[in-house]
């Protein structure tokens, strides 16, 4: 039997989950809907963004929410020159750990810029919000470099 007679078909298997956020992640997402970014204060005083449900050291529930800035500093980054279909940006971008002003722990998001050489550790970035936030991480369309 020749190879041409093999049958092929594309198909997609979908698990259409709806996930409960719980009160902590829910608070974070509700904040995003209002263009606000919330973290919470750990037992040792550090502000963690996005907020954690339990303290990473003492395992106590964390409820002390703190609003942080939607601008901050690049702590580390990785340039993606050929984005894949599942990536959040169709154009080249940087994955980045961003420490928002007021936070002690950096948060992962992505930076879009056509000035790749300005993506460096220590550079300042700010959130670019979508027009109508819905309460999801992609309400922050991306981070962009602040002007010098």
């Amino acid at each position: 039997m020749v190879k041409d007679s093999l049958l092929q078909k594309e198909y997609e298997l979908g698990f259409t989950y709806t996930r409960s956020t719980g009160p902590v992640v829910g608070k974070f997402l509700t904040g995003l809907k209002n263009r606000q970014i919330f973290g919470n204060r750990a037992t040792d005083g550090r502000v963690i963004v996005p907020p954690m449900e339990y303290d990473p050291e003492t395992f106590q529930p964390l409820n002390d929410f703190v609003q942080v800035s939607d601008a901050g500093v690049i702590e580390s980054w990785c340039w993606v020159s050929k984005p894949r279909s599942s990536h959040p940006s169709a154009v080249p971008f940087a994955w980045a750990m961003i420490k928002l002003d007021g936070a002690d722990i950096s948060m992962i998001h992505h930076i879009v810029t056509n000035e790749q050489n300005r993506v460096v550790t220590g550079a300042r970035v700010k959130a670019l919000w979508i027009d109508q936030p819905v309460g999801f991480i992609s309400d922050i369309r991306c981070f962009v470099l602040e002007e010098d």
Binding site: M1, S5, L6, L7, Q8, K9, E10, Y11, E12, L13, G14, F15, T16, Y17, T18, R19, S20, T21, G26, L29, T30, K33, Q132, V134, G135, F136
Partner: protein
């Protein structure tokens, strides 16, 4: 779910989509090509003589390739069944309906298909059924060329003979 009108977010849609490019392989491709012609086929193991449908190209018991193609009949026997009462998202069939393991005459294992034109409460193991095919112009490389199986007015097959009938429905 729509979070647009929610003041407090308590749930998010988090679907996972797995995209496959399925290659049927030699044996299933033969099987599906025959189905497109309106013929149900299996493959016989050269060692143990079992006939598998749909064929996978080898005998899982003997570990040898199955080459001989066997044309099976449209008639089959109910080996087991379930009455589905709960709607499944994305499935257009309205419950209650019957999903059954059916052994076609001439084969030794069952496949899963639908039963219809039947009284659900009277479906039973050993019941005789026959394939109802779609109109010929709708035939594709697909098992749902057979729309469903419906009961036949034939005596039930004793449990010990299910999966052991010849292609003409007689005891081997």
């Amino acid at each position: 779910m729509d979070n647009k009108n929610k003041e407090v977010i308590d749930a998010i849609e988090a679907p996972i989509y797995l995209k496959y490019n399925f290659t049927a392989g030699l044996a299933p491709a033969r099987f599906l090509s025959q189905l497109k012609q309106g013929v149900l086929t299996g493959q016989r193991c050269p060692k143990c003589d079992n006939v598998y449908v749909p064929p996978r190209g080898s005998c899982p018991a003997c570990g040898v390739a199955t080459e001989e193609e066997v044309v099976l009949g449209d008639k089959a026997t109910v080996q087991s069944f379930t009455i589905v009462s709960i709607p499944i998202p994305g499935n257009p069939i309205q419950p209650p309906y019957i999903v059954a393991n059916l052994v076609p005459d001439g084969a030794n294992i069952s496949f899963i298909h639908l039963m219809s034109e039947c009284v659900n409460e009277e479906v039973r193991i050993g019941q005789r059924v026959t394939a109802i095919w779609k109109p010929k112009e709708e035939w594709d490389f697909a098992m749902d060329n057979i729309r469903y199986f419906k009961p036949l007015d034939e005596p039930d097959v004793p449990a010990e003979l299910i999966g052991h009938l010849s292609v003409n429905g007689t005891e081997n």
